[in-house]
């Protein structure tokens, strides 16, 4: 039996990942979220589709370091975790977050601090047993601070930086660290109807699931974003600051 923990399981991309994993035989899913009712709705949905799959749900305060650590070690001790996906994030309206410091704080905490708390807790578990795959959803928004999205972008830059260090630490061990960088994806967070040039959440999810079967690395979803972010990263600041991005 393979045990997969999904944090932020009610998010669109996480749900799509769960749908793919649930198709695999001998898989047990452990869904972690903040809201019990919404978690149970995700669980019911999976169970109607795949009546055979084993699913547990867990609620926790996403900013309570001790509670997070306790939950991860409880799941780890009871079943042993093979894979963990940290999927939550929060993109505010940039202008609103500039105007409202408490919204700014909430963004930094929910999108930056919280995923790292989970990641470090899973890392502790994985390094102790010298096994396991940790995937964390960062974003291509991490590449460069830009006026339209620098608050959300800075949380993702923090996650990417952190994951680079974690991957370094994992070198020479059997622990795999996957930094997942989706481009703009059609989710409620992006607030648009589907089919507007945004990647489909199901496609991004398929890429995540595939990447989490592979080795440590940074994965762009879709792949073209590796090139786009490379170019954006290489632009001289004088040129970049003139662009309306």
């Amino acid at each position: 039996m393979q045990h997969i923990v999904i944090v932020g399981a009610t998010s669109t991309i996480a749900r799509e990942c769960a749908l793919i994993w649930a198709k695999r035989p001998e898989t047990s899913l452990h869904l972690v979220g903040r809201d019990d009712e919404r978690l149970l709705a995700v669980r019911s949905d999976l169970l109607v589709r795949f009546p055979e799959v084993l699913i547990s749900t867990h609620t926790v305060d996403f900013l309570d370091a001790r509670a997070i650590d306790t939950l991860v070690s409880e799941i780890g001790q009871s079943v042993g975790i093979d894979k963990a996906l940290v999927a939550h994030g929060f993109m505010p309206d940039q202008l609103a977050a500039q105007a409202d410091l408490s919204l700014l704080k909430e963004t930094l905490e929910v999108s930056g601090v919280s995923p790292i708390l989970f990641a470090e807790s899973f890392a502790k578990h994985f390094f102790a047993s010298d096994s396991g795959t940790l995937g964390v959803i960062s974003s291509v928004a991490d590449v460069r601070g830009r006026r339209k999205n620098y608050i959300y972008g800075s949380t993702k830059a923090m996650i990417s930086y952190y994951l680079a260090g974690l991957a370094h630490r994992a070198f020479g061990t059997s622990v795999k660290i996957i930094s997942l960088k989706p481009g703009p994806t059609a989710t409620p967070m992006t607030g648009h109807l589907p089919n507007r040039g945004l990647a489909k959440a199901s496609k991004v999810a398929a890429g995540i699931v595939e990447a989490m079967d592979g080795p440590t690395g940074v994965v762009f979803l879709p792949k073209i974003w590796r090139l786009i972010t490379l170019i954006i990263g290489l632009l001289p600041t004088r040129v970049f600051n003139r662009l309306n991005l």
Binding site: A41, S44, R49, G191, L193, P194, R196
Partner: protein, 427 residues
């Protein structure tokens, strides 16, 4: 703001598109809003220019399934495709689906859609056990034909104006397998169409393609029954797409004549009996993504009418004659005789009679004038037009053909409005 078009691509106006979630305080919005699904309504039923569109496609979870009774409860933003893909392999199907699977359950209810099985299973609402409505004042109303039935029949076919449909309980049908045993019969004129149609009452599904170029009304009658037999051939899950919208319509008087001739001849030569996968039989156009682009930048109209049995033949003949003379129309022309069941929705469409549905490339004034002539045929024959397809019917025509409008208006949600409601209901 995002530009949104409906399936007919006639307009492309700015909308404030917001993801719908139940946490949203709908009533905090001072601007009028409308729930949107997959935008497959052809006209303006799903549009709300300069207003809010609640995108419901993320409201797509399955809530429960009872495998003994075949009762499925879902959130309303889920597509019929997702339901069919999941349940057909398990031996269950939606009994009523329209010609595309790319509609949401909420949209199917709001338009009380019908399909090739109407004469057997009625419309979508005939297989709907209950629905949950969220009003913009925050009130939740659960309704069924038994409880709160007035809300149920206002919402069914109510083009989204009674509130946001958030969940529904559906009755699925046990099926022997994903294939249909089909027969394709040619008919040289409408007289024979009606004869075959009468003989085919025992067939579970039937639909006809009709050639709108000639005056005779020749066509192909396609009927099918579910079967446990398994046909040959793979059903591909990826489909080709019309990649761009051409500047002008690829459907014109010449291409139409050629296509219809070929289509009719090829199908007359084909074996009469065969096996067809349900996807190919029920949703042939889903095989080509964005097929609506073939009509070019100006978009297209679909004109769908239903004419009561007593005047069906004469009126259909007259409509075909008028269309042929105008040299308009398209190869997408469909004729079907509905069953006895009348939609009980206050603004429901299907009912006893014959329905004709035709695409028309938008050629501006000449197309609209043709519709006026068709309208007068429909009116004097006691028929009406289908709101899910309409983009241009006059308010007078609507009021003359939908007798329960004032009853319906009492159930409208004051926070909801659409381009169609403003056009046909005045607000």
């Amino acid at each position: 703001m995002v530009k949104v078009s409906s399936w007919g691509l006639l307009t492309n106006d700015e909308h404030d598109v917001r993801p719908f979630s139940q946490d949203l305080k709908l009533h905090n919005s001072s601007v009028k809003s409308l729930a949107a699904g997959l935008e497959r309504s052809y006209g303006d039923a799903g549009l709300n220019p300069d207003g809010v569109l609640w995108s419901t496609t993320f409201l797509n979870k399955l809530i429960s399934f009872d495998p003994d009774l075949g009762v499925l409860t879902v959130e309303a933003g889920i597509s019929l495709k997702e339901i069919q893909d999941l349940f057909v392999p398990r031996g269950w199907s939606l009994p009523v689906t329209p010609g595309t699977e790319y509609v949401t359950v909420g949209g199917a209810i709001a338009n009380d859609v019908h399909g090739k099985s109407h004469h057997m299973y009625g419309s979508f609402s005939d297989n709907l056990i209950s629905l949950t409505l969220l009003r913009t004042d925050g009130e939740t109303i659960v309704s069924s034909p038994e409880d709160n039935s007035n809300w149920f029949w206002a919402t069914v076919g109510g083009i989204g104006l009674t509130g946001v449909i958030i969940s529904a309980q559906l009755q699925l049908q046990k099926i022997p397998g994903p294939w249909l045993a089909t027969e394709t019969l040619t008919f040289p004129n409408l007289t024979e169409f009606f004869e075959i149609s009468n003989e085919s009452a025992a067939w579970e599904n039937s639909v006809s393609w009709i050639d709108c170029v000639g005056v005779g009304g020749r066509g192909l009658f396609m009927r099918g029954n579910r079967t446990s037999e398994i046909g040959k051939g793979k059903i591909s899950h990826s489909s080709p797409s019309v990649p761009v919208t051409p500047p002008f319509s690829l459907v014109n008087a010449l291409t139409l004549r050629v296509f219809n001739e070929l289509y009719f001849r090829m199908n007359s030569l084909k074996k009469e009996k065969g096996l067809q996968h349900y996807k190919k039989y029920f949703y042939p156009l889903d095989g080509i993504q964005n097929w609506n682009r073939i009509y070019g930048k100006r978009g297209f109209y679909q004109y769908q009418s239903v004419i009561p049995p007593e005047s069906a033949k004469a009126a259909t003949e007259e409509m075909l004659k008028t269309i042929s003379k105008a040299k308009e129309g398209s190869f997408l022309a469909v004729l079907k005789t509905f069953g006895e069941r009348k939609s009980r929705g206050l603004l429901g469409f299907p009912g006893p009679g014959t329905t004709l549905a035709l695409d028309f490339p938008n050629r501006g004034e000449s197309t609209l004038k043709l519709f006026d002539r068709l309208d007068s045929i429909v009116l004097s024959a006691g028929g009406k037009l289908y709101l899910a397809k309409d983009a241009r019917m006059s308010r007078e025509m609507f009021e003359a053909t939908y007798p329960r409008i004032s009853e319906f208006s009492a159930f409208r949600d004051p926070g909801i409005s659409s381009a169609m409601s403003r056009r046909l209901l005045g607000s």
